[in-house]
Symmetry: C2
Subunit: 345 residues, 2 copies
């Protein structure tokens, strides 16, 4: 019963195996450099002592942490879960660990979190969307920490991004559903300040309205935070102040699910009385009744590609290259065409 007072160190292992600390270190980081015999001896000692390398010491000496940080707006819903999962898996495969931090949509919390991650030695950072204080980008550049933006693609931005064109995706989608004859349009978006994804999706809807000969300013828009309840409340507000609305486009599935609930609360049938759409295509989109017509985002591919690119940026010490991913439209049951009856109402 070796009731050691403290955790074993490299030194302890070296002593027990009868080798130098350098050899133990090599055994951990570059096993091929050792004789099979010494390697076995060291491994045995490690095992016997239950040794785990001290991360802080290691990263201080090596000036590398093999850690990548990701800052996401929220963990509360599944929006980022899928993509992040894929990101993590790919990182794992490449020998990196992911550190996740959530800002709970408080933009001012982001800077603090980024500094924290950098102080912890993150070799690279993944962030969502382009919008943030330029000072943050300056800081990151000064610290020489590679950053990759995701969930957004914008070649005009200086920071490399792997994502999709939120504006175009929403435009194409909106054009398609509006072609069903809708003239009175409402939209529920999450707060667009400091959120290019939200902003671009709104712009996409306005683009589509123009295509259909509608005045973009007539879009009845309401911006709210990011929960089901917000979606439900916003929907009710929208329908009260504009009862002749025939379709409500939501900036995300979460909001759309809330909107469907709002419709149920008001005794409105979807899509018979009003059509509702989402964006993201998370699992949730299939549990409502009716199921959501929405825009499918390639979460998995996006996460995977982001991991590959960020690791490449780190290891090859090169600038990141942006890539645009395609979104697709998923038609389920929440959208209907305008019928005579309805237009008359």
């Amino acid at each position: 019963m070796p009731a050691n007072e403290t955790a074993p160190t490299l030194d302890d292992v070296a002593r027990m195996a009868g080798v130098s600390t350098a050899t133990v270190s090599r055994c951990l980081n570059d096993p091929d450099k050792l004789t099979k015999d010494t390697r076995m001896r060291v491994l045995a000692a490690i095992d016997k002592l239950g040794y785990t390398p001290n991360f802080a010491a290691r990263s201080m000496a090596a000036k590398r942490t093999f850690t990548i940080g990701a800052i996401i707006p929220t963990m509360e819903n599944a929006i980022f879960a899928r993509g992040l999962q894929a990101f993590q898996e790919e990182l794992d495969r490449r020998g990196y660990t992911l550190l996740v931090s959530s800002t709970a949509y408080k933009t001012d919390a982001e800077e603090k979190q980024i500094r924290n991650l950098v102080a912890r030695g993150a070799d690279g950072l993944l962030v969502i969307g382009h919008d943030r204080d330029p000072a943050i980008y300056d800081y990151l550049k000064q610290q020489r920490v590679p950053v990759l933006v995701t969930w957004s693609y914008d070649k005009a931005e200086a920071t490399p991004s792997i994502g999709f064109d939120n504006r175009a995706a929403m435009r194409v989608f909106a054009e398609k559903v509006l072609a069903l004859g809708h003239r009175r349009i409402g939209m529920i978006s999450s707060t667009s300040a400091q959120n290019d994804r939200a902003r671009m999706r709104i712009a996409g809807v306005r683009d589509a309205m123009e295509t259909h000969g509608l005045e973009p300013d007539t879009l009845d828009l309401i911006e709210v935070p990011y929960t089901f309840d917000d979606g439900a409340d916003a929907f009710i507000t929208l329908m009260r102040r504009n009862p002749e609305t025939t379709i409500v486009l939501c900036g995300s599935d979460v909001l759309a699910v809330g909107a469907i609930r709002g419709a149920r609360l008001m005794g409105l049938r979807v899509p018979d009385d009003v059509s509702i759409t989402g964006f993201d295509d998370i699992e949730l989109a299939q549990v409502t009744s009716p199921e959501l017509t929405t825009v499918h985002v390639p979460h998995h591919t996006m996460g995977q590609m982001a991991a590959a690119e960020l690791v490449a940026m780190i290891e090859e010490k090169r600038e990141g290259v942006s890539q645009k991913l395609a979104t697709t439209i998923v038609e389920r049951g929440s959208v209907a065409a305008i019928t005579k009856t309805k237009t008359g109402g």
Copy 2:
């Protein structure tokens, strides 16, 4: 344009402020010890250089990281999100940072993650449920890392826990809904191996059956992983092999939402044709139609209390003390009483 090649260190700050490194360190950790004048000088230098303390160096020297690790089974759904959010907020308030790691329900991944968190110097660990390889507990004891179990309460276990009695909660709930006259009972649970929460909830249902004079073995149980689809599939399987089932109790809201979807797919009305219940009371429970009758878990309080207790264990170097939290029953629309018509079916 001081295009420094490398990030500024304590030394740089000290030099610029004309003080020793010890003083700069004090300025960061114990500002009151300094003259207002020197403090200002140091702060100015820190600001000017854009200095951020190096976390690895700090934690190596201080042998403290002010970091707490949490290992959760999944980030994919909101089950743990609320509690973890509260946990994080409380930790923040006390000056600690949270590192989250998800096992994706792969129990063998947990040990690796725990070792990783320990190697990273986590001052304490939060884990979900009691079930895990005893070797893990041994390792943690040897490393002297405090552990707190949550989402489960069991005074019989050696590891302190802050949570609720899964078995009793499910028993009380099941007794209540079964009192409505149900005799043919199905249950969908997530895999119970290595998952005391699932196991206890199943036991709770069996307890309730006995109370109602039903043979516990007649419970038609099906265990699946943890997604909506699993819930839907399980429900369909269950109803096919046992069409006269009148109520399906689910081990979690996620599964229940899946089950509701399964019912819709089969053309069954809830609760008219079959009743369905959940467990957890996450937001999701209110977006389905009908809304879920479920067991409310005090996520927020649980997370908050867990944070307070774990920090106390660390700072006061004492054993943790377990606490049992109460759950409540939330009746919404997914359960109906058995009518003559139905019993005749």
